[in-house]
Symmetry: C2
Subunit: 142 residues, 2 copies
DNA sequence: GTTGAGATGTTGTATATACACCGAGAAGGA
DNA sequence: TCCTTCTCGGTGTATATACAACATCTCAAC
């Protein structure tokens, strides 16, 4: 085996980035498929329940929690607003986020599909699923 | 606490998708920062070492390994080719991938930065890093 | 050999993401 | 008060990603 292949193997075989991104692609597909009939995708469901959990939170603060850059937050929240699922209350330079009645209903409607995706993801990931839930708590966890 | 908040908490608190995507965003930033001085990013480094590990592999097969859709493979490999880091040998309808000398040199040049990113990611992820490496093997692993 | 089905890749379109930069508002000191 | 600086968002641009549709090549059945 030549030097290039050896070096590539050394990098590829233990790379946390390669694994994290692959897991993300895989899991996102599962949730996208499950949520598509409800006009949602993984990203939108994520943001929607985050707003539902913390109504009145600012875009800035929510972006910090979720590690999403402010420009991404701005555009993605704009889409949820265009879809009528949230409202953004403009307070000075801040945006406070609230679910609309449609947004609340959409979460309830999509919840069974989310549960199916969650189960499918758990099967795909095996024990890594437990590790991800145990060891990397998210804001809003009990 | 109202019903909407309770439901949102139930979904947000255990969602594998939310965690997988957050970890991916976080880890990608670390590697992007480290690799930027070398004209690479997380995605390109990933593909480059994958080709270095399996020279002559087809785009289709590599996409299967990495769980990357064929159209994404097509565009991303096109960029690596434009950058002079790989060549795509057109064999019938297939594309066989090889590193160029520049591509090989780029991997060697970027390796120390990759190692720094790897260490930083390990610290950020804590024991989840071990779980990801142990429990979700990638093609090319020993 | 011709044809039809399957495999492989590309292009059109949409979304998610980030960085650099800009703008508006807030906060504090001279 | 006024000016500076900081904070929060938005816009311009680039890349990563996926799905749908299409093109092209292979191969097997006939």
């Amino acid at each position: 085996m030549d030097a290039v292949r050896k070096m590539s193997r050394e990098i590829a075989s233990g790379c946390l980035m390669a694994r994290a991104r692959k897991v993300s692609r895989l899991v996102t597909l599962i949730y996208d498929d499950a949520l598509r009939p409800h006009g949602l995708n993984a990203s939108r469901m994520n943001l929607l329940v985050a707003v539902g959990l913390s109504p009145g939170i600012t875009s800035h603060k929510l972006g910090e929690y979720l590690e999403i850059e402010k420009s991404t937050m701005s555009r993605n929240m704009g889409q949820l607003e265009d879809a009528g699922l949230i409202v953004q209350e403009k307070v000075g330079r801040q945006r406070r986020l609230y679910l609309t009645p449609d947004g609340e209903a959409r979460i309830a409607e999509a919840k069974p599909s989310w549960e199916q995706a969650q189960e499918a993801a758990r099967e795909t990931l095996g024990s890594l699923a437990d590790a991800m839930l145990e060891r990397y708590p998210m804001p809003g966890d009990p």
